[in-house]
């Protein structure tokens, strides 16, 4: 029995010494942490997805607490938890927060294989970043989608996929958390976060080509040629033309869809509108006024 006793004594002694050391160290080198950070972390979903732009939920919590001390947590949004969680967090931190509108990633290029003829064949590393560095890609359009799927790679929520037929990425609205990872990943800045709109209805210019009209049109059938018809027809001053490219401000747009009908190349599109007949513009504008 003697050896058992020895073993127990030795191990016990080691444990005791280790415990004392651990205790002393933890007291002496303790890092003061704002208790609110722990509280906020508990409120966050704990997915640690990084969609907010911070390293995990505790990182986000730190930023939220820091922001609250300065009086505003604007711009900090948890893409997973959404409004609900942000409201809870704001309550916990004792500040009010303007509820951000639901956003969704939008791919502003419609240069599918059918619309945009290939003039070269790319034979290098299969990422958009590399292709963008090589040159204008495979088509005559130096602005449009390259189709290698850097955005697909960047998406943590499986919300964006390349459509085999068109060769363009498509966003799954239900899965998109508007975290903006794809926006950052796209070397051509084609993807934009836009307001989701009532019933998911949106109107936007599906082109980012800044070439002159004739050149753009030659490169792609559905390019924006900067003709300015949409700008004239818009009653709400939502449309601006800059560098041969039309842009619709989603905060001003009332979804009247007049521009969609006016656009000679079909570069402006409407999403999630009832398919069949022309939408009664007045009704829609009233409706959207109420909702927006």
């Amino acid at each position: 029995m003697n050896f058992v006793l020895t073993a127990v004594c030795v191990l016990g002694a080691i444990a005791l010494v280790a415990a004392i050391v651990l205790y002393v160290v933890s007291k002496k080198f303790a890092v003061e942490e704002d208790p609110r950070i722990g509280e906020v972390t508990a409120l966050l979903p704990g997915a640690n997805c990084g969609g907010c732009g911070f390293a995990g939920c505790s990182g986000m919590a730190g930023a939220l607490v820091c922001g609250a001390d300065k009086g505003s947590i604007e711009g900090l949004v948890c893409p997973v938890g959404g409004e609900e969680v942000m409201k809870q967090v704001a309550d916990a931190l004792g500040i009010t927060v303007a509820i951000a509108e639901a956003m969704v990633a939008v791919v502003r290029c419609n240069g599918s294989c059918a619309h945009r003829p290939r003039i070269a064949a790319y034979d290098g590393l299969h990422t958009c970043a590399a292709m963008h560095a090589t040159g204008a890609g495979e088509t005559g359009c130096g602005f449009g989608c390259l189709g290698c799927g850097d955005c697909v790679e960047a998406c943590l929520f499986d919300a964006i996929h390349i459509n085999e037929e068109t060769g363009l990425p498509e966003v799954d609205e239900n899965k998109c958390t508007s975290c903006g990872a794809c926006v950052k990943a796209c070397p051509r800045h084609i993807i934009e976060l836009r307001k989701k709109g009532p019933k998911g209805r949106r109107v936007y210019v599906q082109c980012v080509n800044m070439d002159k009209g004739a050149v753009a049109k030659k490169a792609c059938e559905v390019a924006c040629i900067g003709c300015g018809k949409c700008e004239k027809v818009c009653k709400f001053e939502a449309i601006t033309i800059e560098k041969n490219l039309s842009y619709i401000d989603y905060n001003k747009c009332r979804l009247c869809t007049k521009c969609v009908d006016e656009c000679p190349t079909g570069a402006i599109v409407k999403i999630n509108f009832p398919l069949k007949k022309m939408v009664n513009t007045e009704v829609v504008s009233q409706e959207s006024e109420v909702k927006v």
Partner: protein, 336 residues
């Protein structure tokens, strides 16, 4: 792949030219370099060698194909030749009277555990053939350490076994009786593989000349550089020479470098691209450490041979060596 439409120019970043190097070329270079040793082994062990080598190569190729197709579900990579190399090297490291079922287990360990479980060629931290061999060595010590006597052309499982030079050396150290060493063959016989002791060792390590021929071929074809083999053999030679000077129970260094798996290991196993360091500086450190560990295990460990363990241990250090041995950057040394 991208579909190339006729008439369209192809674009990509530079460079647009490619040399003649390819994975296949390197792998089949190794296979060709192994041929002299294979032929010699057929000459010494006959049927046994043929059965072991063939079953090992076939098993490795089949497993590579089956695992990549049915488990990893991707394009089978048989054509790169790495499975053939692994199979050949595994076979070369086995005694010629090993039953086929043990060889199959060895191949499964080599390809399945040693290579494909890490993601296939290029991702394995340890040399697959050595993983197979070492697992067999610790699992089937009896079968793995009975060495058939050379010259029994038509026998396989029934081959007579005998003592190898390594077991003689081990016995001399254990008993402290240096007279035992006098039974060792001289350097010339060791080079040829003509072993008067009777036992010879594994299939591949019989004849040092054949292995050296392979080494010259590999150097000529620039498949490997001299750094790893030369540093291993030099270290073994120097270290065992010092021991020999210190005490007569340690064997003559010439015999030491020609016995056992030193040549096979230094030329073919330690130089495996995937598991050896990238820079020449690192390769030299790696080689010295392998040589040193081999002698330590041989002389003071419980196994008579330490080459395979030494290589596996250093495989584990390869990433660390890569991290700390950077090539000299341009501009660090000035003036001619």
């Amino acid at each position: 792949m991208i579909k190339i439409i006729m008439g369209n120019l192809i674009v990509s970043l530079s460079p647009h030219a490619h040399g003649t190097e390819s994975v296949e070329k390197n792998m089949f270079g190794v296979v060709i370099a192994l041929l002299p040793a294979v032929l010699i082994s057929l000459f010494y062990f006959g049927l046994g060698s043929a059965v072991v080598l063939l079953s090992s190569v076939a098993a490795c190729m089949f497993l590579e194909w089956a695992i990549s197709k049915y488990i990893l579900k991707r394009r089978p990579t048989l054509s790169d030749g790495s499975a053939i190399v692994t199979g050949l090297l595994l076979g070369m490291n086995l005694p010629s009277n090993l039953p086929v079922w043990i060889i199959l287990i060895g191949a499964l360990m080599a390809i399945g555990v040693g290579k494909m479980s890490f993601g296939g060629l290029g991702n394995n931290p340890f040399n697959p053939a050595l993983v197979g061999r070492c697992i067999l060595l610790v699992s089937f010590p009896a079968q793995m350490t009975s060495w058939p006597v050379a010259g029994q052309m038509s026998s396989y499982l029934d081959a007579e076994t005998g003592a190898t030079p390594l077991s003689v050396m081990k016995a001399a150290i254990k008993t402290g009786n240096s007279d035992l060493l006098t039974t060792l063959p001289d350097t010339f016989h060791m080079l040829l593989g003509n072993n008067p002791l009777g036992g010879a060792g594994t299939i591949g390590e019989v004849c040092a000349i054949a292995l050296l021929l392979g080494f010259i071929y590999l150097l000529w074809k620039k498949v490997i550089t001299w750094h790893i083999p030369v540093t291993i053999i030099t270290t073994v030679f120097v270290f065992s020479g010092l021991l020999h000077l210190a005490s007569p129970v340690y064997a003559n260094p010439f015999v030491v470098i020609l016995s056992g798996g030193i040549m096979l290991g230094a030329i073919f196993m330690a130089t495996d691209y995937v598991t050896s360091p990238m820079t020449h500086k690192g390769q030299i450190i790696y080689g010295i450490a392998i040589g040193f560990l081999t002698i330590v295990i041989r002389n003071w460990g419980s196994y008579p041979e330490g080459m395979s363990f030494a290589i596996l241990i250093m495989n584990a250090f390869t990433p660390l060596i890569n991290l700390y041995t950077k090539p000299k950057r341009f501009g660090e040394k000035l003036n001619r």
